[in-house]
Protein backbone atom coordinates (compact mmCIF):
# COMPACT_ATOMS: atom_id res chain seq x y z
CA UNK A 1 0.00 0.00 0.00
CA UNK A 2 1.22 3.45 -0.82
CA UNK A 3 1.88 5.41 2.41
CA UNK A 4 0.45 8.57 0.88
CA UNK A 5 -2.93 6.87 0.44
CA UNK A 6 -2.95 5.46 3.92
CA UNK A 7 -6.04 6.62 5.78
CA UNK A 8 -5.47 8.49 9.01
CA UNK A 9 -7.44 6.00 11.04
CA UNK A 10 -6.73 2.29 11.01
CA UNK A 11 -9.62 -0.19 10.91
CA UNK A 12 -8.30 -1.87 13.98
CA UNK A 13 -5.98 -0.73 16.70
CA UNK A 14 -4.66 -2.53 19.75
CA UNK A 15 -3.15 -0.52 22.58
CA UNK A 16 -0.63 -2.01 25.01
CA UNK A 17 -2.17 -5.46 25.23
CA UNK A 18 -1.02 -7.52 28.18
CA UNK A 19 -1.99 -11.11 28.83
CA UNK A 20 -0.68 -13.75 31.15
CA UNK A 21 -1.75 -17.33 31.67
CA UNK A 22 -1.28 -19.47 34.77
CA UNK A 23 1.58 -21.91 34.30
CA UNK A 24 2.45 -24.32 37.08
CA UNK A 25 2.71 -22.26 40.24
CA UNK A 26 3.57 -19.09 38.38
CA UNK A 27 2.47 -17.13 35.35
CA UNK A 28 3.39 -17.15 31.70
CA UNK A 29 3.55 -13.63 30.28
CA UNK A 30 2.10 -14.15 26.82
CA UNK A 31 1.89 -10.47 25.87
CA UNK A 32 3.79 -7.62 27.51
CA UNK A 33 2.26 -4.46 26.13
CA UNK A 34 1.76 -5.18 22.43
CA UNK A 35 0.36 -2.39 20.25
CA UNK A 36 -0.74 -2.96 16.66
CA UNK A 37 -2.66 -1.18 13.93
CA UNK A 38 -4.29 -2.65 10.85
CA UNK A 39 -5.19 -0.55 7.81
CA UNK A 40 -7.50 -1.34 4.89
CA UNK A 41 -5.82 -2.65 1.75
CA UNK A 42 -2.77 -4.00 3.53
CA UNK A 43 -1.37 -7.24 4.83
CA UNK A 44 0.26 -7.05 8.24
CA UNK A 45 2.31 -10.11 9.04
CA UNK A 46 3.00 -11.19 12.60
CA UNK A 47 6.17 -13.20 12.85
CA UNK A 48 7.73 -14.88 15.83
CA UNK A 49 8.83 -18.24 17.15
CA UNK A 50 6.41 -20.56 18.94
CA UNK A 51 5.19 -18.99 22.17
CA UNK A 52 5.97 -15.44 21.03
CA UNK A 53 2.34 -14.36 21.48
CA UNK A 54 1.09 -14.35 17.88
CA UNK A 55 -2.00 -16.48 18.38
CA UNK A 56 -2.87 -14.74 21.66
CA UNK A 57 -2.65 -11.39 19.85
CA UNK A 58 -4.94 -12.58 17.05
CA UNK A 59 -7.47 -14.03 19.49
CA UNK A 60 -7.54 -10.88 21.61
CA UNK A 61 -8.09 -8.77 18.50
CA UNK A 62 -10.91 -11.11 17.45
CA UNK A 63 -12.50 -10.88 20.91
CA UNK A 64 -11.97 -14.57 21.64
CA UNK A 65 -9.56 -13.93 24.49
CA UNK A 66 -9.92 -11.16 27.06
CA UNK A 67 -6.76 -9.12 27.68
CA UNK A 68 -5.61 -8.44 31.25
CA UNK A 69 -4.74 -4.88 30.25
CA UNK A 70 -4.96 -2.73 27.14
CA UNK A 71 -7.77 -2.26 24.69
CA UNK A 72 -8.78 -2.96 21.12
CA UNK A 73 -10.51 -0.29 19.02
CA UNK A 74 -12.48 -1.43 15.99
CA UNK A 75 -13.57 1.23 13.50
CA UNK A 76 -15.96 -1.07 11.65
CA UNK A 77 -19.68 -1.66 12.13
CA UNK A 78 -21.28 -5.07 12.48
CA UNK A 79 -21.05 -6.85 15.82
CA UNK A 80 -19.58 -10.29 15.29
CA UNK A 81 -19.44 -9.87 11.52
CA UNK A 82 -16.73 -7.29 10.89
CA UNK A 83 -14.10 -9.97 10.65
CA UNK A 84 -13.50 -13.38 9.17
CA UNK A 85 -10.93 -15.69 10.65
CA UNK A 86 -9.06 -18.87 9.90
CA UNK A 87 -7.72 -20.00 13.24
CA UNK A 88 -4.75 -22.24 13.81
CA UNK A 89 -5.36 -25.55 15.57
CA UNK A 90 -9.07 -25.48 14.72
CA UNK A 91 -10.94 -27.27 11.99
CA UNK A 92 -12.88 -24.06 11.31
CA UNK A 93 -15.46 -26.12 9.37
CA UNK A 94 -18.00 -28.91 9.86
CA UNK A 95 -16.38 -31.97 8.37
CA UNK A 96 -19.70 -33.73 7.90
CA UNK A 97 -21.14 -30.92 5.79
CA UNK A 98 -20.03 -30.27 2.23
CA UNK A 99 -17.82 -27.29 1.36
CA UNK A 100 -20.79 -25.32 0.01
CA UNK A 101 -23.02 -26.26 2.94
CA UNK A 102 -20.39 -24.93 5.33
CA UNK A 103 -20.31 -21.64 3.46
CA UNK A 104 -24.11 -21.39 3.46
CA UNK A 105 -24.23 -22.18 7.19
CA UNK A 106 -21.52 -19.74 8.31
CA UNK A 107 -22.64 -17.07 5.84
CA UNK A 108 -26.17 -17.16 7.29
CA UNK A 109 -24.88 -17.09 10.88
CA UNK A 110 -22.89 -13.99 9.90
CA UNK A 111 -25.85 -12.06 8.59
CA UNK A 112 -26.51 -13.16 4.98
CA UNK A 113 -29.76 -14.69 3.83
CA UNK A 114 -29.33 -18.42 3.03
CA UNK A 115 -29.90 -17.64 -0.66
CA UNK A 116 -27.25 -14.92 -0.64
CA UNK A 117 -24.87 -17.18 1.29
CA UNK A 118 -25.32 -19.92 -1.32
CA UNK A 119 -24.57 -17.49 -4.16
CA UNK A 120 -21.52 -16.04 -2.39
CA UNK A 121 -20.39 -19.52 -1.39
CA UNK A 122 -20.50 -20.79 -4.98
CA UNK A 123 -18.58 -17.71 -6.20
CA UNK A 124 -15.92 -18.10 -3.54
CA UNK A 125 -15.46 -21.83 -4.13
CA UNK A 126 -14.94 -21.01 -7.78
CA UNK A 127 -12.45 -18.29 -6.84
CA UNK A 128 -10.39 -20.79 -4.81
CA UNK A 129 -10.65 -23.44 -7.51
CA UNK A 130 -12.90 -25.80 -5.56
CA UNK A 131 -16.10 -25.56 -7.58
CA UNK A 132 -15.90 -29.27 -8.42
CA UNK A 133 -15.57 -30.10 -4.70
CA UNK A 134 -18.51 -27.96 -3.61
CA UNK A 135 -20.74 -30.90 -2.76
CA UNK A 136 -18.08 -33.09 -1.22
CA UNK A 137 -17.94 -33.51 2.58
CA UNK A 138 -15.14 -31.35 3.98
CA UNK A 139 -13.74 -34.30 5.97
CA UNK A 140 -12.93 -36.06 2.69
CA UNK A 141 -11.04 -33.11 1.18
CA UNK A 142 -7.24 -32.78 1.28
CA UNK A 143 -5.64 -30.49 3.87
CA UNK A 144 -5.00 -27.82 1.24
CA UNK A 145 -8.58 -27.97 0.00
CA UNK A 146 -9.86 -27.75 3.57
CA UNK A 147 -7.76 -24.66 4.21
CA UNK A 148 -8.97 -23.02 1.02
CA UNK A 149 -12.56 -23.81 2.04
CA UNK A 150 -11.90 -22.36 5.51
CA UNK A 151 -10.57 -19.22 3.88
CA UNK A 152 -13.69 -19.00 1.70
CA UNK A 153 -15.87 -19.50 4.80
CA UNK A 154 -14.05 -16.67 6.55
CA UNK A 155 -14.84 -14.42 3.60
CA UNK A 156 -18.35 -15.52 2.78
CA UNK A 157 -19.98 -12.49 4.46
CA UNK A 158 -17.46 -10.14 2.84
CA UNK A 159 -15.88 -8.79 6.06
CA UNK A 160 -13.50 -5.82 5.83
CA UNK A 161 -11.00 -7.49 8.19
CA UNK A 162 -9.47 -10.93 7.86
CA UNK A 163 -7.38 -12.77 10.48
CA UNK A 164 -5.36 -15.68 9.19
CA UNK A 165 -3.46 -17.65 11.80
CA UNK A 166 -1.08 -20.02 10.00
CA UNK A 167 -3.39 -20.47 6.99
CA UNK A 168 -0.81 -22.50 5.05
CA UNK A 169 0.18 -24.88 7.83
CA UNK A 170 0.44 -28.40 6.46
CA UNK A 171 -0.65 -27.27 3.03
CA UNK A 172 1.11 -28.45 -0.16
CA UNK A 173 2.97 -26.04 -2.41
CA UNK A 174 0.22 -25.80 -5.02
CA UNK A 175 -2.38 -24.85 -2.40
CA UNK A 176 0.09 -22.43 -0.80
CA UNK A 177 0.51 -20.69 -4.11
CA UNK A 178 -3.26 -20.52 -4.62
CA UNK A 179 -3.70 -19.01 -1.14
CA UNK A 180 -0.86 -16.54 -1.71
CA UNK A 181 -2.35 -15.32 -5.01
CA UNK A 182 -5.78 -15.03 -3.51
CA UNK A 183 -4.57 -13.03 -0.51
CA UNK A 184 -2.92 -10.53 -2.84
CA UNK A 185 -6.21 -10.15 -4.72
CA UNK A 186 -8.06 -9.61 -1.44
CA UNK A 187 -5.58 -6.95 -0.43
CA UNK A 188 -6.08 -5.21 -3.76
CA UNK A 189 -9.82 -5.34 -3.07
CA UNK A 190 -9.22 -3.33 0.11
CA UNK A 191 -9.31 -5.98 2.80
CA UNK A 192 -7.27 -5.47 5.94
CA UNK A 193 -5.47 -8.75 6.53
CA UNK A 194 -3.59 -9.86 9.62
CA UNK A 195 -1.48 -12.89 8.84
CA UNK A 196 0.61 -15.00 11.17
CA UNK A 197 2.91 -17.55 9.64
CA UNK A 198 6.13 -19.45 10.17
CA UNK A 199 6.70 -19.42 6.42
CA UNK A 200 8.97 -16.44 6.03
CA UNK A 201 9.04 -16.59 2.24
CA UNK A 202 5.26 -16.36 2.16
CA UNK A 203 5.37 -13.48 4.62
CA UNK A 204 7.95 -11.64 2.52
CA UNK A 205 5.91 -12.14 -0.65
CA UNK A 206 2.73 -10.82 0.97
CA UNK A 207 3.45 -8.45 3.83
CA UNK A 208 3.13 -4.69 3.44
CA UNK A 209 4.11 -4.35 7.05
CA UNK A 210 5.77 -6.75 9.40
CA UNK A 211 5.77 -7.08 13.17
CA UNK A 212 8.19 -9.46 14.85
CA UNK A 213 7.03 -10.64 18.25
CA UNK A 214 9.50 -12.14 20.67
CA UNK A 215 8.55 -13.35 24.13
CA UNK A 216 5.36 -11.30 24.10
CA UNK A 217 6.95 -8.04 22.98
CA UNK A 218 7.22 -6.26 19.66
CA UNK A 219 10.90 -6.69 18.77
CA UNK A 220 10.66 -4.99 15.40
CA UNK A 221 7.93 -3.47 13.30
CA UNK A 222 7.60 -1.39 10.17
CA UNK A 223 6.97 -1.45 6.44
CA UNK A 224 8.52 -4.59 5.02
CA UNK A 225 10.61 -2.74 2.41
CA UNK A 226 11.82 -0.21 4.94
CA UNK A 227 12.81 -2.70 7.61
CA UNK A 228 14.68 -4.73 5.04
CA UNK A 229 16.41 -1.79 3.37
CA UNK A 230 16.95 0.42 6.38
CA UNK A 231 18.57 -2.07 8.67
CA UNK A 232 21.65 -0.37 10.16
CA UNK A 233 23.43 -3.65 10.60
CA UNK A 234 23.62 -5.02 7.08
CA UNK A 235 25.06 -8.44 6.30
CA UNK A 236 28.28 -8.55 4.22
CA UNK A 237 29.46 -11.59 2.32
CA UNK A 238 33.20 -11.93 1.84
CA UNK A 239 34.39 -14.52 -0.64
CA UNK A 240 38.00 -15.59 -0.14
CA UNK A 241 40.42 -16.80 -2.80
CA UNK A 242 41.35 -19.75 -0.55
CA UNK A 243 39.31 -21.61 2.06
CA UNK A 244 40.07 -20.85 5.69
CA UNK A 245 41.33 -24.17 7.05
CA UNK A 246 40.15 -25.75 10.30
CA UNK A 247 42.64 -24.94 13.06
CA UNK A 248 43.63 -21.63 11.46
CA UNK A 249 43.97 -19.14 14.33
CA UNK A 250 42.20 -16.46 12.24
CA UNK A 251 39.10 -18.64 12.32
CA UNK A 252 38.98 -18.45 16.13
CA UNK A 253 39.53 -14.68 16.09
CA UNK A 254 36.72 -14.25 13.51
CA UNK A 255 34.35 -16.44 15.51
CA UNK A 256 35.05 -14.23 18.55
CA UNK A 257 33.55 -11.39 16.46
CA UNK A 258 30.53 -13.64 15.75
CA UNK A 259 31.51 -13.90 12.14
CA UNK A 260 30.21 -16.96 10.30
CA UNK A 261 32.90 -18.87 8.40
CA UNK A 262 32.04 -21.56 5.89
CA UNK A 263 34.91 -22.66 3.60
CA UNK A 264 35.71 -19.71 1.34
CA UNK A 265 32.69 -17.67 2.46
CA UNK A 266 32.67 -15.36 5.47
CA UNK A 267 29.48 -13.59 6.62
CA UNK A 268 29.79 -10.47 8.74
CA UNK A 269 27.05 -8.37 10.36
CA UNK A 270 27.68 -4.60 10.49
CA UNK A 271 30.22 -2.36 8.80
CA UNK A 272 32.51 -1.97 11.82
CA UNK A 273 32.79 -5.72 12.20
CA UNK A 274 33.49 -6.00 8.48
CA UNK A 275 36.59 -3.81 8.76
CA UNK A 276 37.83 -5.75 11.78
CA UNK A 277 37.24 -9.03 9.95
CA UNK A 278 39.11 -7.74 6.89
CA UNK A 279 42.09 -6.76 9.11
CA UNK A 280 42.12 -10.33 10.50
CA UNK A 281 41.89 -11.82 7.02
CA UNK A 282 44.72 -9.62 5.65
CA UNK A 283 46.74 -10.70 3.57
CA UNK A 284 44.51 -13.55 2.31
CA UNK A 285 43.39 -13.09 -1.33
CA UNK A 286 39.82 -11.79 -1.65
CA UNK A 287 37.54 -12.70 -4.55
CA UNK A 288 34.60 -10.49 -3.67
CA UNK A 289 33.08 -8.35 -0.90
CA UNK A 290 29.38 -7.61 -1.22
CA UNK A 291 26.45 -6.41 0.84
CA UNK A 292 23.83 -9.16 0.94
CA UNK A 293 20.30 -8.21 0.11
CA UNK A 294 18.54 -8.99 3.32
CA UNK A 295 15.55 -11.31 3.22
CA UNK A 296 12.79 -11.30 5.78
CA UNK A 297 14.13 -14.66 6.91
CA UNK A 298 17.57 -13.14 7.44
CA UNK A 299 16.11 -10.22 9.32
CA UNK A 300 13.96 -12.48 11.45
CA UNK A 301 16.85 -14.72 12.45
CA UNK A 302 19.05 -11.75 13.18
CA UNK A 303 16.44 -10.14 15.43
CA UNK A 304 15.95 -13.47 17.15
CA UNK A 305 19.71 -13.93 17.67
CA UNK A 306 20.28 -10.39 18.91
CA UNK A 307 17.36 -10.65 21.29
CA UNK A 308 18.53 -13.94 22.72
CA UNK A 309 22.15 -12.89 23.11
CA UNK A 310 21.62 -10.71 26.20
CA UNK A 311 19.31 -13.34 27.69
CA UNK A 312 21.86 -16.14 27.31
CA UNK A 313 24.55 -13.79 28.58
CA UNK A 314 22.65 -12.92 31.69
CA UNK A 315 21.81 -16.51 32.45
CA UNK A 316 25.40 -17.69 32.53
Amino acid sequence: MNPSTQPPNPLLQAHRLRKRYPKGKGWLEALKGVSLALYPGEILTLLGPNGAGKTTSVKILAGLVEPDEGRVEVQVDGPGTWLGAVLEGSRNLYWRLSALENLIYFGTLRGLSPKEARRRGSELLQAVGLQDKAHQAVGSLSRGQQQRTALAAALVHDPPVLFLDEPTLGVDLEAQEAIRAWLLRLKEAGKAILLTTHQLELAEALADRVTILLEGEVALEGRTREVLAGSPRAVYRVELGLPLEEGDSRRTRLQALEVEVEGKVVRVVGEETLWEALRILDPLPLERVERESLSLAGLFWRVLRERRKPCSGSST
Partner: protein
Protein backbone atom coordinates in the same frame (compact mmCIF):
# COMPACT_ATOMS: atom_id res chain seq x y z
CA UNK B 1 -33.14 -14.72 14.90
CA UNK B 2 -35.57 -16.54 12.60
CA UNK B 3 -32.77 -16.80 10.07
CA UNK B 4 -30.58 -18.52 12.67
CA UNK B 5 -33.42 -20.92 13.54
CA UNK B 6 -33.88 -21.64 9.84
CA UNK B 7 -30.22 -22.36 9.16
CA UNK B 8 -29.82 -24.50 12.28
CA UNK B 9 -32.91 -26.50 11.29
CA UNK B 10 -31.47 -26.86 7.80
CA UNK B 11 -28.16 -28.09 9.27
CA UNK B 12 -30.03 -30.57 11.48
CA UNK B 13 -31.95 -31.92 8.46
CA UNK B 14 -28.75 -32.20 6.41
CA UNK B 15 -27.10 -34.22 9.18
CA UNK B 16 -30.24 -36.33 9.62
CA UNK B 17 -30.51 -37.12 5.92
CA UNK B 18 -26.80 -37.94 5.73
CA UNK B 19 -26.54 -39.91 8.95
CA UNK B 20 -30.09 -41.22 9.67
CA UNK B 21 -28.80 -44.22 11.62
CA UNK B 22 -27.49 -41.98 14.42
CA UNK B 23 -30.98 -40.81 15.44
CA UNK B 24 -32.56 -44.15 14.62
CA UNK B 25 -29.95 -45.92 16.76
CA UNK B 26 -30.60 -43.72 19.78
CA UNK B 27 -34.39 -44.13 19.41
CA UNK B 28 -34.14 -47.90 19.12
CA UNK B 29 -31.67 -48.06 22.02
CA UNK B 30 -33.99 -46.12 24.35
CA UNK B 31 -37.07 -48.09 23.24
CA UNK B 32 -35.34 -51.40 23.91
CA UNK B 33 -34.09 -50.26 27.36
CA UNK B 34 -37.54 -49.14 28.53
CA UNK B 35 -39.32 -52.14 27.01
CA UNK B 36 -36.88 -54.52 28.71
CA UNK B 37 -37.21 -52.61 32.00
CA UNK B 38 -40.98 -52.97 32.18
CA UNK B 39 -41.35 -56.43 30.70
CA UNK B 40 -38.45 -57.70 32.87
CA UNK B 41 -39.95 -56.19 36.03
CA UNK B 42 -43.36 -57.68 35.25
CA UNK B 43 -41.87 -61.09 34.54
CA UNK B 44 -39.99 -61.10 37.85
CA UNK B 45 -42.64 -59.63 40.16
CA UNK B 46 -45.99 -60.10 38.49
CA UNK B 47 -48.46 -57.49 37.28
CA UNK B 48 -49.11 -56.07 40.75
CA UNK B 49 -45.59 -54.70 41.10
CA UNK B 50 -46.39 -51.07 40.55
CA UNK B 51 -50.01 -51.13 41.67
CA UNK B 52 -51.77 -47.80 41.50
CA UNK B 53 -48.55 -45.92 41.04
CA UNK B 54 -47.81 -47.39 37.61
CA UNK B 55 -49.05 -44.33 35.73
CA UNK B 56 -47.10 -42.01 38.03
CA UNK B 57 -43.96 -44.06 37.43
CA UNK B 58 -44.48 -44.04 33.68
CA UNK B 59 -44.95 -40.25 33.64
CA UNK B 60 -41.82 -39.83 35.79
CA UNK B 61 -39.79 -41.93 33.38
CA UNK B 62 -41.11 -40.12 30.32
CA UNK B 63 -40.46 -36.66 31.79
CA UNK B 64 -37.02 -37.79 32.95
CA UNK B 65 -36.23 -39.02 29.45
CA UNK B 66 -37.48 -35.77 27.93
CA UNK B 67 -35.71 -33.44 30.36
CA UNK B 68 -32.46 -35.32 30.59
CA UNK B 69 -32.19 -35.71 26.80
CA UNK B 70 -32.61 -31.96 26.40
CA UNK B 71 -30.11 -30.88 29.04
CA UNK B 72 -27.52 -33.50 28.14
CA UNK B 73 -27.82 -32.63 24.48
CA UNK B 74 -26.73 -29.03 25.15
CA UNK B 75 -23.66 -30.15 27.09
CA UNK B 76 -22.78 -32.92 24.62
CA UNK B 77 -23.15 -30.54 21.70
CA UNK B 78 -20.70 -28.07 23.29
CA UNK B 79 -18.24 -30.90 24.02
CA UNK B 80 -18.50 -32.08 20.42
CA UNK B 81 -17.98 -28.58 19.05
CA UNK B 82 -14.98 -28.12 21.35
CA UNK B 83 -13.53 -31.41 20.13
CA UNK B 84 -14.11 -30.38 16.52
CA UNK B 85 -12.49 -26.99 17.22
CA UNK B 86 -15.55 -25.01 16.17
CA UNK B 87 -16.48 -23.08 19.32
CA UNK B 88 -14.40 -20.08 18.29
CA UNK B 89 -15.94 -19.94 14.83
CA UNK B 90 -19.40 -20.09 16.39
CA UNK B 91 -18.43 -17.30 18.78
CA UNK B 92 -17.50 -15.18 15.74
CA UNK B 93 -21.08 -15.07 14.44
CA UNK B 94 -23.85 -12.54 14.74
CA UNK B 95 -25.88 -14.42 17.43
CA UNK B 96 -22.67 -15.41 19.24
CA UNK B 97 -22.07 -18.69 21.02
CA UNK B 98 -24.93 -18.27 23.52
CA UNK B 99 -27.39 -17.43 20.72
CA UNK B 100 -26.34 -20.46 18.67
CA UNK B 101 -26.56 -22.73 21.73
CA UNK B 102 -30.04 -21.43 22.62
CA UNK B 103 -31.36 -21.91 19.10
CA UNK B 104 -29.89 -25.39 18.93
CA UNK B 105 -31.47 -26.22 22.29
CA UNK B 106 -34.88 -25.13 21.00
CA UNK B 107 -34.44 -27.25 17.91
CA UNK B 108 -33.31 -30.21 19.93
CA UNK B 109 -36.80 -30.17 21.47
CA UNK B 110 -38.01 -31.25 18.07
CA UNK B 111 -35.33 -33.91 17.85
CA UNK B 112 -36.12 -35.13 21.36
CA UNK B 113 -39.82 -35.08 20.56
CA UNK B 114 -39.09 -37.51 17.72
CA UNK B 115 -37.06 -39.56 20.17
CA UNK B 116 -39.63 -39.58 22.98
CA UNK B 117 -42.77 -40.48 21.00
CA UNK B 118 -41.62 -44.04 20.17
CA UNK B 119 -40.28 -44.39 23.72
CA UNK B 120 -43.67 -43.42 25.17
CA UNK B 121 -45.42 -45.88 22.88
CA UNK B 122 -42.98 -48.63 23.86
CA UNK B 123 -43.48 -47.89 27.57
CA UNK B 124 -47.26 -47.84 27.26
CA UNK B 125 -47.31 -51.11 25.32
CA UNK B 126 -44.98 -52.97 27.65
CA UNK B 127 -46.21 -51.53 30.95
CA UNK B 128 -49.93 -51.62 30.24
CA UNK B 129 -50.27 -48.09 31.64
CA UNK B 130 -52.95 -45.75 30.31
CA UNK B 131 -52.18 -42.06 30.09
CA UNK B 132 -54.47 -39.09 29.44
CA UNK B 133 -53.16 -36.20 27.42
CA UNK B 134 -55.26 -33.08 28.05
CA UNK B 135 -54.18 -29.88 26.22
CA UNK B 136 -53.35 -28.32 29.59
CA UNK B 137 -50.41 -30.77 29.78
CA UNK B 138 -48.62 -28.59 27.23
CA UNK B 139 -48.15 -25.97 29.94
CA UNK B 140 -46.10 -28.09 32.39
CA UNK B 141 -44.38 -29.71 29.39
CA UNK B 142 -43.29 -26.22 28.32
CA UNK B 143 -42.05 -25.33 31.81
CA UNK B 144 -40.27 -28.68 31.96
CA UNK B 145 -38.52 -27.84 28.69
CA UNK B 146 -37.60 -24.31 29.86
CA UNK B 147 -36.21 -25.56 33.16
CA UNK B 148 -34.28 -28.31 31.38
CA UNK B 149 -32.89 -25.67 29.04
CA UNK B 150 -31.62 -23.73 32.08
CA UNK B 151 -29.98 -26.84 33.53
CA UNK B 152 -28.60 -27.67 30.11
CA UNK B 153 -27.00 -24.22 29.91
CA UNK B 154 -25.38 -24.80 33.31
CA UNK B 155 -23.98 -28.09 32.11
CA UNK B 156 -23.04 -26.42 28.84
CA UNK B 157 -21.13 -23.80 30.85
CA UNK B 158 -19.26 -26.60 32.60
CA UNK B 159 -18.56 -28.19 29.21
CA UNK B 160 -17.14 -24.86 27.98
CA UNK B 161 -14.72 -24.72 30.90
CA UNK B 162 -13.89 -28.40 31.42
CA UNK B 163 -14.67 -29.67 27.88
CA UNK B 164 -15.34 -33.25 28.95
CA UNK B 165 -18.50 -33.73 30.99
CA UNK B 166 -19.46 -37.26 29.91
CA UNK B 167 -18.80 -38.77 33.35
CA UNK B 168 -20.77 -36.01 35.07
CA UNK B 169 -23.71 -36.60 32.72
CA UNK B 170 -23.60 -40.30 33.58
CA UNK B 171 -23.85 -39.51 37.29
CA UNK B 172 -26.48 -36.84 36.82
CA UNK B 173 -28.88 -39.07 34.96
CA UNK B 174 -29.28 -41.28 38.03
CA UNK B 175 -29.61 -38.26 40.34
CA UNK B 176 -32.32 -36.91 38.05
CA UNK B 177 -34.09 -40.24 37.84
CA UNK B 178 -34.27 -40.27 41.64
CA UNK B 179 -35.48 -36.68 41.73
CA UNK B 180 -38.19 -37.35 39.15
CA UNK B 181 -39.43 -40.48 40.86
CA UNK B 182 -40.02 -38.74 44.18
CA UNK B 183 -43.66 -37.63 44.46
CA UNK B 184 -43.30 -34.31 46.23
CA UNK B 185 -47.00 -33.63 45.67
CA UNK B 186 -47.76 -36.45 48.12
CA UNK B 187 -45.52 -35.00 50.83
CA UNK B 188 -46.77 -32.86 53.70
CA UNK B 189 -45.77 -29.21 54.08
CA UNK B 190 -42.94 -28.04 54.34
CA UNK B 191 -41.32 -30.99 52.49
CA UNK B 192 -43.49 -30.58 49.43
CA UNK B 193 -42.63 -26.85 49.32
CA UNK B 194 -38.93 -27.48 49.75
CA UNK B 195 -39.04 -30.23 47.15
CA UNK B 196 -40.56 -27.78 44.66
CA UNK B 197 -37.48 -25.60 44.97
CA UNK B 198 -35.52 -28.35 43.27
CA UNK B 199 -35.21 -28.09 39.48
CA UNK B 200 -38.22 -29.19 37.42
CA UNK B 201 -40.05 -30.89 40.29
CA UNK B 202 -43.28 -28.78 40.12
CA UNK B 203 -43.50 -29.44 36.37
CA UNK B 204 -43.07 -33.18 36.89
CA UNK B 205 -45.66 -33.18 39.71
CA UNK B 206 -48.16 -31.33 37.51
CA UNK B 207 -47.56 -33.76 34.65
CA UNK B 208 -48.01 -36.74 36.97
CA UNK B 209 -51.40 -35.39 38.03
CA UNK B 210 -52.47 -34.50 34.49
CA UNK B 211 -51.23 -37.49 32.54
CA UNK B 212 -51.14 -40.22 35.18
CA UNK B 213 -54.24 -39.55 37.25
CA UNK B 214 -56.28 -37.44 34.88
CA UNK B 215 -56.57 -34.72 37.54
CA UNK B 216 -56.21 -31.02 36.91
CA UNK B 217 -53.45 -29.57 39.08
CA UNK B 218 -54.12 -26.40 41.03
CA UNK B 219 -53.05 -23.11 39.43
CA UNK B 220 -50.68 -22.61 42.34
CA UNK B 221 -48.73 -25.69 41.20
CA UNK B 222 -48.72 -24.54 37.58
CA UNK B 223 -47.56 -21.04 38.54
CA UNK B 224 -44.90 -22.59 40.73
CA UNK B 225 -43.80 -24.74 37.78
CA UNK B 226 -43.47 -21.58 35.66
CA UNK B 227 -41.52 -19.68 38.31
CA UNK B 228 -39.25 -22.67 38.96
CA UNK B 229 -38.54 -23.03 35.23
CA UNK B 230 -37.84 -19.32 34.73
CA UNK B 231 -35.54 -19.18 37.77
CA UNK B 232 -33.50 -22.16 36.55
CA UNK B 233 -33.47 -20.75 33.01
CA UNK B 234 -32.15 -17.41 34.31
CA UNK B 235 -29.57 -19.22 36.44
CA UNK B 236 -28.55 -21.26 33.40
CA UNK B 237 -28.13 -18.20 31.15
CA UNK B 238 -26.16 -16.40 33.89
CA UNK B 239 -23.95 -19.41 34.51
CA UNK B 240 -23.28 -19.91 30.80
CA UNK B 241 -22.33 -16.23 30.38
CA UNK B 242 -19.96 -16.44 33.36
CA UNK B 243 -18.41 -19.61 31.94
CA UNK B 244 -17.96 -17.93 28.55
CA UNK B 245 -16.31 -14.94 30.21
CA UNK B 246 -14.06 -17.29 32.19
CA UNK B 247 -12.85 -19.21 29.13
CA UNK B 248 -12.22 -15.89 27.37
CA UNK B 249 -10.09 -14.78 30.29
CA UNK B 250 -8.28 -18.11 30.39
CA UNK B 251 -7.94 -18.21 26.61
CA UNK B 252 -9.33 -21.74 26.51
CA UNK B 253 -12.41 -21.35 24.34
CA UNK B 254 -10.72 -23.06 21.41
CA UNK B 255 -8.86 -25.73 23.36
CA UNK B 256 -9.99 -29.27 24.14
Amino acid sequence: MLRVVHIEFWRFLRALSRYPLELLGSVLGAVVVFALFFSGARYLAGPALFGERLEALVVSLITWSLAFSLLSQIASNISEEALAGLLEQLALTRPGLLGVVLVRALLSLLQIGLLVIPIVLAILLTSGARLDFPPLALLPLGTLALGSLGLGLMLGGLALVYKRVGQLLGLLQFAFLGLFLVRFEAFAWPWSGLGYLLPLTPSVAALRLLLGRGETPGWDLLVLAGINALVYLALGVGFFRRALRRVRRQGTLGTY
